[in-house]
């Protein structure tokens, strides 16, 4: 690889309604950590470059710099207001190949600069497709749904890539992703073709899209400085025929997807429904968990205050075949026996704890731990222990 041509990591920032999405700061955090180490190891001066496209988004730059960006390239234009894949793809590619921008990012590398060394996108409803089209245009490699990154010098021998020879690939980005079975981590590499039997090809940038929540953002540091680079995008007239007619959030009454932990309750509350639900609420708050119920609760058979009833005894709270299917990292079931349709609603949870006085309740087969006892007795004990072991729950 003619490495002088490829510098820096470009992080494609995502935002909505003027607010940065959490994944943007997570990607910057990981980029910062990787590059602090990289620059140290290789005695380099390469930059973490945040790339932001939008309309009236100047105010985002400060936050980005506070969270680790060395530079922020801002393309601010009304045509970039709605995220239209075609338009954004072209503009991002323009930025990647723009010498003028490169000279503003790091003048000492500018003359040789051709394109970024690495690129990070988010693995979400925007980034998955955006990264695919950008890399199709840049004609380089992309790994999806990555949750671990390492930069290393690797000696690689590959029948096709290297023609069987052992070649040293320096500063290679190892991109780890979990395969569909959930059992294997595959490492993807984007490598130049050095096989003499075929045309030699350099593939840059090495790109990946990153799973939201996989990395931690930095703590914002207002002392950090960086430069903001304005980029004037070139927009194709024809592309303006693509129009976003409307865009709105779906107000699903109860959101389970954005919670790492979910607490469910069932008939076990029956001794004193109002009191027990309040107890469960307190517990859920400790863990920053969403609350769901088993089906019978939604049939409104347990008397509670009007507020509690309208909040919890509704179909939108139900976890099961006629309600929602959830897959949080942690699911705790209080007083749920485990009817088959509830189990199929929560069986994809990573770790399941059920609290039930009957240790042979059917939910046992879908649990990792069954804590024998009544929820009103067990919850206070759990809460005390949680306060001890997990003082500041940083679960979002």
């Amino acid at each position: 690889m003619t490495e002088e041509h490829y510098r820096h990591v470009f992080v494609i920032i995502e935002h909505i309604d003027g607010k940065l999405l959490p994944v943007s700061l997570e990607m910057l955090g990981e980029a910062r950590r990787l590059f602090d180490d990289y620059n140290n190891r290789y005695s380099a001066n390469e930059k973490v470059v945040a790339v932001v496209l939008g309309d009236n988004i100047q105010n985002l730059s400060k936050t980005l710099i506070e969270h680790g960006a060395d530079c922020v390239v801002v393309a601010d234009d009304p045509a970039l207001h709605s995220l239209i894949n075609k338009i954004h793809t072209k503009v991002i590619c323009q930025i990647c190949l723009d010498k003028d921008t490169a000279s503003k990012i790091e003048p000492s590398y500018a003359s040789e600069f051709q394109r970024p060394r690495y690129m990070f996108f988010a693995a979400d409803g925007i980034g998955r497709h955006l990264s695919s089209t950008v890399l199709a245009e840049l004609d380089s490699g992309l790994a999806s749904d990555v949750n671990k990154l390492v930069i290393s010098d690797l000696e690689i021998s590959h029948p096709v890539k290297t023609g069987g020879k052992k070649i040293m690939y320096n500063k290679t980005l190892e991109m780890y992703r979990v395969d569909f079975s959930g059992f294997l981590w595959t490492t993807i590499l984007c490598l130049d073709n050095t096989n003499e039997n075929y045309p030699l090809r350099e593939y840059s940038p090495q790109a990946c899209n990153i799973i939201p929540g996989a990395f931690e953002p930095l703590k914002p540091d207002s002392a950090r400085t960086g430069n903001v680079i304005d980029f004037k995008p070139k927009i194709d007239e024809d592309d303006l025929k693509i129009k976003v007619l409307s865009q709105k959030f779906v107000e699903s009454e109860v959101d389970f997807d954005n919670y790492k932990a979910v607490v469910g309750f069932g008939r076990g509350i029956q001794e004193s429904p109002e009191k027990n639900i309040k107890l469960i609420e307190e517990f859920a708050t400790h863990l920053n968990a969403q609350i769901g119920t088993s089906l019978p609760i939604s049939k409104n058979v347990f008397s509670a205050s009007p507020a509690t009833t309208s909040t919890y005894m509704i179909p939108a709270r139900v976890i099961g075949t006629s309600g929602q299917k959830i897959s949080p990292m942690l699911y705790i079931a209080f007083g749920i026996s485990g009817a088959m349709q509830h189990l199929s609603g929560m069986e994809d949870s990573q770790f399941v704890i059920s609290v039930n006085p009957d240790e042979n309740a059917p939910i046992k087969d879908a649990s990792d731990i069954l804590l024998r006892g009544r929820l009103e007795d067990v919850i206070p004990l759990l809460m005390d222990e949680i306060k001890k072991q997990l003082p500041e729950m940083e679960i979002k």
Partner: protein, 292 residues
Amino acid sequence: MSELNLAVVVKLEPDLSEGNISYNADGTLDRQKTKNTLGPHSKIAAQAAFYAKVKYGGKISIGTMSGHAANNALQIAMETCDADLLQLYSDHKFAGADTIGTAEVLKNGIEKMDGKMDIVFSGHRATDGETGQVGPQIAWKLGLTFLGNVISYDVDMEKRTVTAKRLVNLRGVPEIIQEIEAPLPVFIAIDPSYKYYFDTVSLRLTAEKYKREAHERAQHFDDYIQTFTREELGADETLVGLIGSPTIVYNVQRVPKGKATRSAKVLDGSNPEHIRQTVTAIKEAFSAMVIK
């Protein structure tokens, strides 16, 4: 107004249903022993194309790149959408391709279909591989506007535009429904939740008519297959297969966690030690990898 030229790119995938799937001792898929079938997302893409055929009239061509016998998948695809043409791209030079290499083959294939395509459909992602990259990359190579996660769409045959509803999922905000209009030709990657819907008697009758025709055609679906080697496709050999692929799979490791049947450890809720153990388990659960 003239009919639509519709294409669907589909993938042959392992049949993951219980009774068909086989696992290796290390928990990985035993591909030799597991049958292949039409990938579920590809099937939904075929259903999306069927909607256009019924509502607006048109011809549907299916394209797939496969090293194995893709007959099973092509037959199911035929039955799903009453296709008029089935194309199979098969060449040992296509093997080992990553998404760019695959997209290049499929792009060439689509260019060999009858007429210029108005809409190309694909699924959201494959059940194995799961990158979801090939669709947008084919779109880019063909110069088509890419619309992803489409949950419903309609065509204005006069204006030759598509209006589509898309479901955009972003972590940290509620789901978004976006309505977008684009001039034909477009590439639609269909959202897994897509279900077509015909709301008049006449559309339903047409749909039933085509479904019957689809079933008949599926009985002798091989009459509809065209096969292409790399040469016949006119694909540049440096751009396809392993040669044309920027990325390789370097390493495969075991991941400690996996989704399998659980065996519950029974603990006593009145025992402080057990409570402690439980909370420790909660702590560990939060620090484990996000596997989505």
